[in-house]
Point group: C2
Chain length 415, copies 2
């Protein structure tokens, strides 16, 4: 008589969600616009690094044989045949018995094989005019302070693999080896929808039975933090025609909804988007889940309780967004190993995602405790700022004891 609940496994729903990712597009973008995107092609050096042989110091370019005897009490005096600022050509070859002033990074002139740094001479550093002659107080080693063309990289040498998340360091490296633009995957454009007739604007006066919409702002934040663009946002009451109209009117790469997919009488996402697959996943919190394609647009339908949104986003939507960005995504979410600092109960027939905070040693090997005294209850949105990860308690476990080992899915600072 009591209706049975049919569950699907987390792996099955994750496969369904990940199947929605199609091959990401490839576009050529100027370096200035690549920050935070993912490279679509390997980067190999188009220039040698350094691109020409240059001085590693401010000083004087010389022939070693002319200065090899220089000592503080027996300096060598050489006429200075000019000056090579950075960014200029090096001029004529340096003749035997002469020196040329040279700045850090400036092109080494032909003839010279070594650089005497300015501090080893009688020429004051920081003076603009080059002297007519220079006294050298200490012999350099042969080849000293010279950086040779290609000593770091030759043309064609690999610099970065494809699929690399491009930070400032990556973009600087690409610039230094001759790139002004890169082939990248554009950031996925995502539309987020919070559903429910009970939702009102955050901060507004609430009519009876209404609550502030926290899911819209939560989803928008999570999508941004996951490296996608929040291209559209909507809040939709329990009106299936309105929801269908919103989804149909958007030109986005992915739609993520919150709410309207469980067993109630007013399940707006279920009713509006019947082409999705809806099922109950054997997890707590966040059992009701949906996913599929509407028109040509992937849709991930998350449950409506904010902690369930948070958990489901990290378990399903974040890896989907990562794949759509062009990142390599493992079959299961990566976790770190930790120890329980306190005990709690878990439903034996479900995987529990317990919101935790680090009690000591944040990350691998650390100790975790539930973020809130009430545990994994799915409505405790106000405690989300305390959450630093999700302890994954597998099916079959009825209680976690203090001291037990745990896998923890990180929810902060991850790509």
């Amino acid at each position: 008589m009591t209706q049975s609940e049919q569950f699907v496994g987390i792996g099955e729903h994750r496969r369904l969600v990940m199947s929605l990712a199609h091959e990401p597009a490839v576009v050529e973008m100027p370096l200035e616009r690549c920050l935070g995107l993912v490279s679509a092609e390997p980067v190999a050096a188009r220039l040698p690094v350094p691109p020409f042989t240059n001085s590693a110091m401010d000083g004087f370019a010389v022939r070693f044989q002319d200065v090899s005897t220089a000592r503080p009490d027996a300096p060598v005096r050489l006429p200075v045949t000019g000056d090579i600022p950075a960014g200029s050509a090096a001029g004529d070859p340096v003749e035997t018995g002469t020196a040329r002033r040279i700045m850090t990074g400036a092109r080494m002139p032909a003839g010279a094989d070594s650089v005497v740094k300015v501090e080893r001479t009688d020429h004051a550093p920081g003076v603009v005019d080059a002297p007519a002659e220079v006294r050298i107080f200490q012999a350099p080693e042969l080849g000293a302070n010279v950086r040779h063309r290609g000593e770091d990289l030759q043309i064609g040498d690999p610099v970065m693999e494809a699929g690399r998340l491009l930070d400032g360091a990556c973009l600087a490296a690409a610039a230094s080896v001759g790139y002004g633009s890169l082939a990248v995957h554009p950031a996925p454009r995502v539309g987020v929808i919070s559903t429910g007739s009970e939702l009102s604007d955050a901060g507004s006066d609430l009519a009876a039975g209404r609550i502030p919409d926290s899911n819209g702002i939560l989803l928008a934040g999570l999508v941004s933090e996951a490296g996608a663009v929040v291209a559209q946002r909507a809040r939709v009451p329990d009106d299936p025609a309105r929801l269908r109209e919103v989804v149909a009117g958007w030109d986005v790469d992915l739609v993520i909804t919150a709410g309207g997919i469980s067993a109630g009488a007013y399940e707006v996402v279920r009713q509006a988007l019947p082409e999705l697959t809806f099922h109950k996943v054997a997890q707590q919190p966040g059992g009701p889940q949906g996913a599929g394609i509407v028109g040509a647009t992937p849709v991930v339908a998350l449950p409506g309780n904010p902690v369930s949104v948070f958990v489901s986003f990290h378990v399903y939507a974040r890896p989907l967004i990562a794949a759509m960005r062009g990142l390599a995504v493992p079959v299961e979410s990566p976790t770190v190993r930790a120890t329980a600092g306190a005990g709690w109960r878990s439903p034996a027939e479900k995987t529990q995602f317990m919101p935790i905070r680090w009690e000591s040693g944040e990350g691998e090997g650390g100790r975790v405790v539930p973020a809130h005294r009430l545990g994994s209850k799915s409505h405790l949105v106000a405690t989300l700022p305390l959450v630093e990860g999700l302890a994954v308690v597998p099916v079959g476990v009825e209680a976690v004891e203090a001291g037990d080992g745990l896998e923890v899915l990180m929810t902060r600072g991850e790509v």
Copy 2:
């Protein structure tokens, strides 16, 4: 005769740089615009959570005494006096001997004290119309499936401290406790300048002695990753008047320059901005450093080699930006403890910041090796994508041996 080099310590230069941070401004921003900013005031609940007593399940609101005998073989039959969708008022009190259909999150009606979930009744879940009567197959516990007003938080309870970096979870929590906007510190607006007559556009054909400008893109990326806004960018040749004009013309919170501060004859930043303090810090790479105020604008002047820019940014500019964002910044950069997986040499009179990658166990307790076979040489910009941190080798150490303990400054994924 050889000119002596006077060094200042890392701590001294860091104090100079950190002294440039003035109290960050406070502005009220709608939640939608707060992502990634730092809260300026504590957040305390303006609403109780939940804001009203509501149902945790889809089912029927009842008086416990009416259904306490219900069993599968002896169900209790009750007339249904209406329906309470989420977001609506609850209607009249529930009379003795009646039930009212109720959805998850909907307001509990007066009179009722417990909710029977729909799966424990003869009413099919997911049907829109409420039935005229319902058979209940199993007695709930008294008070079952009811979430009480304020059971999570009472008005005035603390939710978040001031100085909190606001992610989606924080903003959702703020919304749920009654906020539509927050007092935040605006992101600092930073102008970045790469200097040197040798610099050309990335990807352009290079004239003799010219190199691509990688510092501009590096600084812009690092500033963005540090949570500031790149409000202005410029590349300036070795022309002090031009540099002064650029800095004077900008309305920004901070200027960061690269290059033009060492001992050469064409040190454009030294010449253009004489009100800054310039000195040599006892560190490798990145010895030459400058900082101060020009007009009313803080300026941090970094050396010009890209790896020196990278190192100096992380040691000095990133903490300054963090302080200007309103984050609490420790006196010294936080590090994690690691083990050297290989040996290398270090200059005994300087602190060395060796760019490393993780050989195993990224983070606390992991093993690190130099990111590049040539070590900490400051011109190896093309190897920056390999760098995952900076091993801090203190003054007095001439060589790191495999197996030695090390402190590592993290350069990725940090706030």
